[in-house]
Symmetry: C2
Subunit: 385 residues, 2 copies
Amino acid sequence: MEAHSHADLVPHSPRRLHETWILDHLRRQGRASRAELVAATGLSRATVSALAGELLAQGKVVVTDVAQPTAPGRTPQALALNPAAGLVLGLDFAHSRVGVVVADAAHAIVGSATRTYASTTPWDTRCAIAVRLARKVLAGDAPLAAVGIGIAGSIGGRPAVVDAIRDAFTDAFGVPVRTDNNARLAGLAESVWGAARGGADALYVRLSSGVGGAVILDGRVHRGRGGTAGEFGHVCVDPAGPLCRCSNRGCLECYVGVEAVLADSGAATLADLLSALDRGDRRASAVVTAAGQRIGLVLSGAGNVLDVPHVVLGGDLTVLGEHLVRPVRQTITRHLHADRAATVALAELGDLDGALGGVALVLHDPSIPFTGPLAPRHLTGTGTA
Amino acid sequence: MEAHSHADLVPHSPRRLHETWILDHLRRQGRASRAELVAATGLSRATVSALAGELLAQGKVVVTDVAQPTAPGRTPQALALNPAAGLVLGLDFAHSRVGVVVADAAHAIVGSATRTYASTTPWDTRCAIAVRLARKVLAGDAPLAAVGIGIAGSIGGRPAVVDAIRDAFTDAFGVPVRTDNNARLAGLAESVWGAARGGADALYVRLSSGVGGAVILDGRVHRGRGGTAGEFGHVCVDPAGPLCRCSNRGCLECYVGVEAVLADSGAATLADLLSALDRGDRRASAVVTAAGQRIGLVLSGAGNVLDVPHVVLGGDLTVLGEHLVRPVRQTITRHLHADRAATVALAELGDLDGALGGVALVLHDPSIPFTGPLAPRHLTGTGTA
């Protein structure tokens, strides 16, 4: 949470405030039609049209096509922040690879790349690899506005490493740099571009060796007091359960982390487990169903407390597909209160989710000015992996 | 959640925006010293001082004493919204009584009253009783800015009744009227005036026959998609548990609602149960400890997902005091992840909590203009129960 909340503003200068609502929505969503802006801001159609006209005249926004035409033969127009406001660089330092994404202010991805490294690679080498990769994707001449970096949870607890990463990118690019947990950023990215896109509120759970996640409320990552919200993996599901690596007992992760699921099922790898599931193996099915039910129970609890309409499952365990999603969905449906419902979907963004979340992190950060144009010339840089 | 979020505003007009941060903070917190405004907004001391000077000159804020002097012999000054901006009326329609509170824009309570009624009293009669009581507390001549009304959860599901209540107060006072679930409003009030005051984030659980609650994030009630967030009572604690009145299985309420606790303990009333606990009765102690552990488990789960520093327990069951609080606190401490901590405290506001929450509801609602002065004259009206 930020120290200052601007959430319930007293509307002193309505026109100015309404303009910020529109720009804020575009900054979060990338692009939006006038009708979407009416729905999102609660302003009248006339007000939105008038303000959009002014913002266009000022060069703060541009007209663009909506991502997906709503009907054949019709290409509705959308507004987006002026891409000339500069590019944003998103990175994800995962355990054995770094992912890089470059996007413009209209949320268009202009390039991406990934590089693997050995788990023994020292951090200064990893940073050098990542900076080089980023420069390649940026293609040299584009104005960069900010850098957002996702960092694996296990590293996030080491402030010296986080500082080294931040310094390396500040030195290399001379723009604001922000960092966050990469599972939380993956959840944010899913809420902007992925399985929960367009939904302001979502729960994201990443199911790999560790189990983490993100709570997205009102289009923002909810961080909590200590910045560590989203610890679905350490919700207790049995107070008498086994000791977790976190030193508490009976955490969800003890039961549904990849290693625990493999051990319970007797499969050597997730691929083997999936094969067993596909051929109807009873033990495999029972183990994965039980894991899905536990995940669903934790998520239904969070759903009853938060009344959130979207659940997204990511991480290595999701290669099990519907074998996993079905029991999660059934359990959530069974235990959500009254007539609530929540969609349960697999994450869609793959390996670049954390880097995309880095892009969203800085696009959503109000302390980074990002309503161009920053530079008089149009952007030319694109890059590929 | 509101349809439009203004949470991550792009700072277009910093001066204007900073002014709204200060007014917004005062509107939520009632009064604040300049130092508190610096801490809450992230603005510099110089900026806060300059803006405070302007707001004082415009009559939007006034200088007042802080509620509690921080050291003997020293009376720090605080800023508050101008009380002349009008009064706010808060009401709470509980099962067998209505509570009324009148407060000014500086969050000062200028009067309060309660009236009981038979559970068979028709709604138009209840509304007439409440309007009469409110007029008495308002004492006739004060300008009223808005009305906020808490309504028991069992009634909230009956839209016709909610509409009738809203219409009765709109007709009677001709000002904006807002309604919400009274357990949620009680939680909001505890975060403004009660056990979690000054804390922006808190979980509130009301433990009576039914078990409900509120999630306060960043000083606001989190409502969720359908407006029903905070259903701690219907978080499943055992999928194979008994059928709940909500038609799901194993909900927390089945185990820790007042009737369930009394039945398990063999006590006829909560007073009897408290006596048994005070004299060390083993069965009573085991039952209340088990209830506290279940409550703690649900709250630690929410705490791990949300990373919230304050937990407040309210409702009839809290007459059991530390007998109940201790196992809740121990269980939360045991299952919160890593080095997190949360305070666990009893609610402090008593029977007027819901009505106070009604006051906070409208003070926090940005769609109600409330930064006077509304009227040239100063207020004279006060009332008593």
